[in-house]
């Protein structure tokens, strides 16, 4: 058995040394809407035209969506919006923003939300609902694909 364990460790170490082809997150959820985002369409973070959030850095956007920031230095309270469905867009957003897959993000939130430490962003059904909330709320921020940024919201940052 000891030899088997040593071999397993050895194989694993060898595996780490081989350059890996990183597969994109595979998503098994079924979603009706919105339609899948094209790979070439970058995700854009959107805010209200009269946003009180101020100019946000990429780090601040990460912190807001990961529940690490609840109040900004200018005392405004960010309201991050996420999608209930649309796993392709969510996966693309979080991969670009944090470098983590959707499953890893869910595991992160499982630790915080099940233990009452923090709550994940409010989830809405689709892009229309997200845009509507951002249009009406000065503290809201959401994300859509670059082709779907409406005239009633302002693009804050393209997440690549």
């Amino acid at each position: 058995m000891r030899h088997l364990i040593i071999k397993l460790f050895g194989l694993w170490a060898l595996w780490l040394c081989v350059p890996q082809v990183h597969a994109q997150p595979v998503v098994s959820e079924i979603s009706v809407e919105p339609p899948a985002v094209q790979e070439s369409s970058p995700i854009t973070v959107i805010v209200n035209p009269r946003s009180e959030l101020g100019q946000l850095s990429r780090k601040q956007i990460v912190d807001i969506y990961m529940g690490r920031i609840t109040v900004l230095p200018n005392n405004s309270i960010p309201l991050p919006i996420d999608y209930q469905g649309s796993p392709e867009m969510r996966a693309q957003f979080y991969q670009a923003l944090t470098g983590k897959s959707l499953a890893q993000i869910n595991a992160y939130w499982a630790r915080l939300s099940f233990t009452g430490q923090a709550n994940p962003p409010r989830k809405l059904a689709n892009k229309a609902a997200m845009s509507q909330v951002v249009e009406k709320n000065r503290n809201a921020l959401g994300y859509v694909d670059a082709h779907s940024v409406g005239s009633a919201v302002v693009p804050l940052m393209v997440i690549k």
């Binding site: 364990i5 597969a23 994109q24 098994s28 690490r68 609840t70 499953a103 869910n106 499982a110 233990t115």
Partner: protein, 352 residues
């Protein structure tokens, strides 16, 4: 169980691997697949009231180690003072270590079970109140939590590991008080924790194999009516690109007991798309308090090395396989020596 030291220990047939001390979750020398010891099914719900400041959360868990009996393990109310600060009161996990309060959420853990050398304690819940606050310290994100309360465990699972499956021990922690602070910046995270409590154990009985009865016993570890203990924990994590380094260090100062505790763990995880592979080393040893009667030559000590491979089946489920190699380095005067054990565990986690 793949192998290890074959010997009877108390009323167990070892090799034995205790995956969860608090729940008396022990894998023993039975051949074939052992489904019971550490399987669990949990359901958590939160009720929000018309006032968004108030909510109530409950969690019930069914455990294989308790023959599937369903227990209400969490029940607490939350009042949000503002967007940064909230007060919670009721029954919760006691947040001693980094993963203590999420120890039953398998999907949140990088292992099939927590490293038992560090996460094996007699109390895992408490009744009380805590206040938590989120803030910024310069460019650091801070999450702070302070708590106070008490806990009473009837027929402790933890002490069945040490005194036999038929034994009974009631445990009381009074005047629990402490807190923790988590600081995070980019790829680095640190969590510091301090908790103190008065530990007492009552109504102790041990199984007498000769008479086949439960005989009243006493606790050789605690003088008088208990011991004040001070628990110090520091965890440091690095999450950089596809590499994750997890470390944690624990020390318990038991002021009137015969020994103090030291435990540590270090793990490295490599992410590869929907796959993760990691190694983890964990260690526990007791240190005798000679002045209180402790024997420096007879302290509990053991290590564990594990290899874990995780595959995410979907954004909400995963499959994990883990190989553990436990090495016994010493049995204390008061506790049996369980010997070495090699364990292979398979876990399926799903959150909804």
């Amino acid at each position: 169980m793949l192998g290890g030291t074959r010997q009877p220990v108390l009323d167990l047939r070892c090799p034995c691997f205790t995956a969860d001390y608090a729940q008396n979750a022990i894998y023993d020398n039975r051949s074939g697949v052992q489904l019971g010891p550490d399987s669990k099914l949990g359901l958590q719900g939160t009720v929000n009231f018309p006032s968004p400041a108030w909510s109530v959360t409950a969690q019930v868990v069914s455990r294989g180690s308790e023959a599937g009996e369903v227990n209400l393990e969490w029940l607490y109310g939350t009042y949000r003072l503002n967007d940064s600060t909230s007060i919670q009161f009721g029954r919760k996990r006691i947040p001693i270590l980094f993963y203590s309060d999420s120890q039953d959420v398998g999907f949140a853990l990088p292992w099939t079970h927590l490293p038992p050398q560090q996460y094996g304690w007699e109390v895992v819940n408490y009744n009380g109140i805590n206040i938590q606050h989120v803030d910024q310290l310069g460019s650091w994100d801070m999450r702070a939590n302070m708590l106070a309360g008490q806990e009473y465990v009837r027929d402790s699972g933890y002490w069945k590991v040490y005194r036999g499956q038929q034994s009974q021990t009631n445990v009381r922690w009074e005047n629990i008080f402490g807190g923790n602070v988590t600081l995070a910046k980019d790829w680095f995270e640190a969590r510091l924790s301090y908790i103190q409590a008065q530990t007492m154990r009552h109504n102790i009985s041990e199984w007498d194999s000769a008479t086949q009865t439960l005989a009243p016993s006493s606790d050789p570890l605690l003088a008088g009516d208990g011991s004040r203990q001070k628990i110090y924990v520091a965890a440091f994590n690095v999450d950089y690109e596809n590499w994750v380094l997890l470390t944690e260090f624990l020390h318990i100062d038991r002021q009137a007991a015969t020994f103090n505790d030291f435990a540590s763990r270090a793990g490295l995880i490599r992410r590869m798309g929907q796959w993760e592979a990691g190694i983890n080393l964990s260690e526990y040893h007791g240190q005798a308090v000679v002045g209180a009667g402790g024997n420096p030559q007879g302290q509990e000590s053991h290590t564990n090395r594990s290899l874990t491979v995780r595959h995410y089946l979907s954004p909400h489920s995963d499959l994990k396989i883990q190989l553990d190699n436990q090495r016994e380095r010493g049995g204390a005067d008061w506790t049996p020596k369980y010997g070495h054990a090699r364990l292979l565990t398979l876990a399926y986690d799903r959150i909804f």
